[in-house]
């Protein structure tokens, strides 16, 4: 594996991210998480089609479909990663990852879409079940 691609040591970047987490707990009382925001997003989309049904669903009573701290945290991850990638020349538009392309070829965007979508459905169902 090549090491000198402009990335930081995972120990340094990981340690600093732990520090960001500690400050978040200190100043905002918020622990890191992401999957709840996908539930809120699903609920907000469903509200467009029928808000009465959403209002009666038990899970959306517990996890209210609205924009909160964590939802903005998830948006921030997108923006922070983009800023870091663009300012370091490591931004790259890619339809299929390198390791995937080695196995399935670079022209397998459709197959990648199906597998990634299916994986997303299963992973999120599991993550929510385990309350993670």
């Amino acid at each position: 594996m090549k090491k000198n691609d402009g990335g930081w040591s995972p120990y340094l970047a990981g340690g600093l991210s732990g520090l960001v987490g500690v400050f978040s707990v200190w100043f905002a009382g918020q622990f890191f998480g992401a999957s709840t925001s996908f539930v809120r997003t699903a609920g907000m989309i469903e509200q467009l089609f029928g808000s009465e049904r959403v209002a009666q669903m038990e899970y959306f009573i517990n996890v209210v479909p609205r924009i909160d701290w964590q939802w903005m945290f998830v948006v921030g991850i997108f923006l922070g990663a983009m800023f870091s990638a663009l300012t370091s020349g490591s931004f790259k538009l890619q339809a299929v990852p390198d390791m995937w392309a080695e196995r399935f070829g670079t022209r397998s965007t459709g197959k990648r879409a199906v597998v990634a979508f299916t994986g997303g459905v299963v992973a999120m169902f599991g993550a929510r079940m385990a309350d993670g």
């Binding site: 991210s17 200190w26 948006v75």
Partner: protein, 175 residues
């Protein structure tokens, strides 16, 4: 409003560090699952080490309260198995999928769409799940120090020493 700003800034810093650590990539995530590249494990354990010291310190100083979720074996075990299966297919987790799109790896968008659908399906299944698997093996809000009946400052150094030994071994193996 202030909380939303806190969330955005915190996420920005976290996303920046995730990208610098190169852990947003499919190749790194699959690399860890295939036991070829342990970058993600190094990043996560380093984060946990700093986080556990800081958060327990804040708690001892009365500046924060721990947010402990109930350990219910049924949903945790089944949910974790499903998550692992989905993660292996997608190659991104919920947080890193957003970061991956940020660095141009737009195949993560398929996963984000899938995860929104998965969340909607879970909301539909919730009443049924609550009546069944959520009752299997409820251990309550437990922590490791509490089960062992020792102070957390006994467990934390042990965890750190264990992690450092693991890091040394991974570096020796070139993982």
């Amino acid at each position: 409003m202030k909380m939303l700003a806190y969330g955005l800034v915190t996420g920005f810093l976290f996303g920046f560090l995730l990208q610098k650590g190169r852990v947003l990539r499919y190749d790194k995530q699959l690399g860890a699952l295939r036991l070829l590249d342990m970058t993600i494990v190094k990043f996560m354990l380093s984060s946990v080490m700093v986080g556990m010291v800081g958060v327990y310190l804040l708690q001892d100083l009365g500046l924060a309260t721990l947010s402990i979720k109930s350990t219910v074996l049924g949903p945790v075990i089944i949910g974790a198995l499903l998550f692992g299966l989905g993660w292996g297919l997608l190659g991104y987790c919920p947080g890193t999928s957003m970061g991956a799109v940020g660095e141009g790896r737009w195949d993560a968008l398929w996963g984000i769409l899938g995860m929104i659908v998965g969340a909607a399906l879970f909301a539909e299944a919730f009443p049924f799940l609550q009546a069944t698997i959520y009752n299997w093996g409820d251990l309550g809000r437990i922590t490791v120090p509490q089960i062992l009946g020792v102070n957390h400052w006994f467990i934390i150094p042990l965890f750190i020493v264990g992690a450092i030994f693991l890091f040394r071994w991974l570096e020796k193996k070139g993982l």
